[in-house]
């Protein structure tokens, strides 16, 4: 080394020798990551083995052996066949489906209501804007549990008993035990009506695609909405009448203590859906308002300048751009709604937490397994929702040019 520095001028250029393996950044990074991973694995292993040792020492049953044992309790509402002779595993699924049902209905209602209120808050109509503003401020600032109690106990108490129930149009009844709707009973030939409906839906998609292409090529617009409505409503309707109305209804009737027959919607489900969706809608409304307000003014002015009507401006110019801002925070609200549905236990709706983390945990006493599974379930629901929303976000994002 000294020789080279002492003698300047031409000669073999000596590049600095390759550093020792230990000093190479990639190597170091890899080492750090391996150490961290091993450390984490060891920590998890310690916790797991500690838990199982301690449970064994305390003589507390562990493992998932309970899964196939008879549950012995009943669930008031189940989307799958369930009785008190079913297993804990079936109780798990019954509870999970009830949670998914509430989450799905809640998300749909919350989105519709949230968009209406959010757009309404920006309305130039003073009254509408103020009502929507008040809605948002009241609902998002009260604790959700309180709202659920309000919908359940305050509203429930004012409904009449089964023998004095309110009769609603179309043979439905409302009382303190729930909402009873006539159940459709398909007769022979009803399948043809369903097929007609399917054809109508496919055809309306085809019309929409065709109309879009025609508009792009010729600039002429086609009344897609009306054609679609006609295809979806009139086509199956015509088939239904032509076949002699092959659908009868089973009406709920008072027998014994309660209404029997028809479709019964529990008050717990109604209160939960109303509570969750009105609460979440207040947040969604603000997200929607922020999204719309976030679209530059120039866009609206430009749309006015080319002569688009107010409705078309909203639909074609503002909303597509606003959606880019709206979707990511909207996802969080959907996740919140799904997680908040676990408050169902307070008002007696048999959701996943009530059935599995409540009754099953208590009857089996296996807190560790049940809580782990519960966390896993909520994590899975949330990750799937979030994955779908991310896909949707990518799909609607405007391509920047």
């Amino acid at each position: 080394m000294t020789a080279t520095t002492n003698r300047p001028g031409p000669g073999p250029i000596t590049r600095p020798a390759k550093p020792n393996l230990l000093y190479r950044p990639e190597f170091r990074q890899a080492i750090y990551q391996i150490v961290l991973t091993v450390g984490l694995l060891f920590a998890f292993w310690t916790i797991a083995s500690n838990v199982s040792d301690n449970l064994a020492r305390q003589n507390i049953a562990s493992g998932f052996g309970f899964w196939n044992r008879t549950a012995g309790f009943d669930i008031s509402q189940s989307l799958i066949a369930y009785s008190n002779q079913s297993t804990y595993g079936q109780a798990f699924w019954a509870g999970l489906l009830n949670t998914l049902l509430v989450a799905a209905i809640g998300i749909v209602f919350a989105t519709i209501l949230g968009f209406l209120v959010g757009i309404g808050r920006l309305s130039s109509n003073w009254l509408i804007a103020r009502i929507c503003g008040a809605y948002v401020e009241i609902l998002r600032n009260l604790p959700l549990l309180l709202q659920l109690f309000f919908w359940y106990f305050a509203v429930l108490k004012n409904l009449p008993g089964p023998r004095q129930s309110f009769s609603l149009p179309l043979g439905a009844s409302l009382n303190v035990r729930g909402l009873y709707l006539p159940a459709p009973v398909p007769g022979p030939g009803f399948r043809a009506v369903l097929i007609a409906l399917a054809i109508g839906i496919v055809a309306s998609f085809a019309v929409a695609i065709w109309a879009k292409r025609r508009q792009r090529e010729t600039g002429e617009r086609f009344p897609v909405l009306w054609t679609t409505l006609a295809l979806i409503l009139l086509l199956p309707g015509a088939v239904y009448i032509a076949l002699g109305q092959p659908l009868s209804f089973e009406y709920p009737a008072l027998r014994g203590f309660n209404f029997q027959g028809g479709i019964a919607i529990q008050p717990e489900l109604m209160a939960l859906v109303v509570g969750l969706s009105t609460y979440t809608a207040s947040f969604i409304a603000e997200i929607v308002r922020a999204g719309i307000a976030g679209v530059p003014r120039g866009q609206r002015e430009a749309a006015n300048a080319v002569g688009l009507s107010k409705g078309l401006t909203m639909r074609l110019v503002i909303l597509p751009q606003a959606l880019r801002i709206i979707i990511p925070p909207l996802t969080s609200q959907y996740l919140n709604l799904a997680k908040n549905s676990s408050l169902a236990v307070a008002i007696g709706y048999p959701d996943f937490v009530s059935v599995f983390t409540g009754t099953v945990l208590n009857q089996t006493g296996q807190a560790v397994e049940v809580i782990l599974l519960t966390m896993l379930v909520f994590l899975t629901i949330s990750l799937i929702t979030s994955a779908f929303m991310n896909w949707f976000n990518k799909h609607i994002a405007l391509v920047e040019r």
Binding site: I47, N50, V51, D53, N54, L55, R57, Q58, N59, I60, A61, G72, F73, D74, I75, S76, N84, Q85, F153, L156, K157, L159, G161, V176, R177, R255, G256, F257, N258, Q260, P267, E268, K339, N340, S342, L343, V345, A346, I347, G348, P350, V353, S354, T357, G358, T359, L361, N362, Q363, T364, G365, A367, V368, I371, M375
Partner: protein, 339 residues
């Protein structure tokens, strides 16, 4: 979410901290802390409920006091931990409480797979059914098709299913986490029937808006021996908690009451002298003082006194002694002798 968090916390506590708790002697821990952590009901009149001054009253709450009197010599050294039906076992398993004294039914499943041991029966109960008088129902067998309000995580839920299944009747359960919400829903007419242990039905009827409008049906559909439980693996603590109950029974049998305990201490009756620690050294074997039973009776009372004060003739609930009378008076309460 709050409840879920609490459950999660206790589950995590089971996962992480039990190693210390299981091996430690509960008696030493309690003595060192100077207070007894006792899991009680969040509110069941007659068994454990806070009164208007915030003091816990009831048969189960007094059991906690009796243990504190025996162990610490001071019945007031109790930290009451209100637990729901759902949380109670995890609270005991995790070491959050030293004893669970919360109208809990003794069953084989709970005794064998939850890591706890029931020490005895301080109240013999059975599950009953309550309906509104206006329904015109006279028997549980007329309840086919009824809707039933019930509290989650209890043997009640299972007995209910068994009762309807056995009698081939349909029913709809509506399940709540807390007793208050269950009763509110029943009173709002959400359910035709409210079911829980018969003692609970009588106690809760008192707090209803119109107690006279509700009747308890004659059927008792299960046996519910209610008693305190402790963690498995600490036989010394198990023995102490068990004998606190026996001491109260023996005291009643020997005629020792809160009022006359000091005179009785000078009695010549060998039985009384042994109970009150004047003869023999029975406290020592369990790590307690010689006067452990004397302190229980002096500061809290004997079993009969507690029964009458909390759920019997001295209370608004006014339940007859019945099965809970001493064996000498035709009941089931029987204690091994102190000798």
């Amino acid at each position: 979410m709050k409840r879920a968090t609490k459950l999660f916390a206790t589950a995590a506590a089971v996962a992480l901290t039990t190693a210390g708790v299981a091996s430690a002697q509960t008696l030493d821990k309690v003595k060192k802390q100077g207070t007894l952590s006792c899991g009680v009901n969040t509110g069941l009149a007659g068994f454990s409920a806070p009164d208007d001054k915030g003091n816990w009253t009831g048969l189960d709450a007094d059991y906690c006091r009796a243990i504190a009197a025996a162990v610490l010599g001071d019945a007031t050294k109790v930290r009451f931990v209100p637990t729901t039906a759902k949380e109670r076992f995890t609270a005991l398993q995790s070491g959050e409480i030293d004893v669970l004294s919360r109208n809990t039914t003794w069953t084989l499943g709970r005794d064998s797979s939850l890591g706890l041991s029931f020490v005895g029966v301080n109240y013999y109960d059975g599950q009953g059914l309550m309906v509104k008088k206006s329904l015109g129902v006279k028997s549980g067998l007329e309840l086919g098709g009824a809707t039933v309000c019930v509290q989650t995580g209890t043997t009640t839920e299972l007995n209910l299913a068994d009762f309807f299944r056995q009698n081939k009747m349909e029913y709809k359960p509506v399940v709540f986490e807390k007793a208050d919400e269950t009763i509110t829903a029943y009173q709002a007419g959400r359910c035709d029937v409210y079911t829980t242990d018969a003692s609970g039905l009588y106690a809760q009827r008192l707090q209803m808006q119109q107690p006279d409008e509700h009747i308890v049906l004659p059927e008792i559909i299960s046996k519910e021996p209610l008693g305190p439980s402790v963690r498995q693996g600490d036989s010394q603590w198990f023995t102490i908690v068990k004998w606190v109950h026996f001491a109260m029974l023996n005291a009643e049998e020997a005629g020792i009451t809160k009022a006359n305990v000091d005179q009785m201490a000078n009695s010549t009756n060998p039985d009384v002298r042994r109970i009150l620690g004047k003869e023999g050294e029975f406290g020592k074997g369990t790590g307690l003082g010689a006067d452990w039973a004397l302190q229980i009776v002096k500061q809290v009372g004997n079993y009969g006194e507690l029964f009458e004060k909390n759920v019997g003739s001295g209370s608004r609930i006014n339940i007859a002694r019945g099965q809970n009378n001493l064996w000498t008076k035709g009941g089931l309460q029987y204690a091994p002798p102190i000798r």
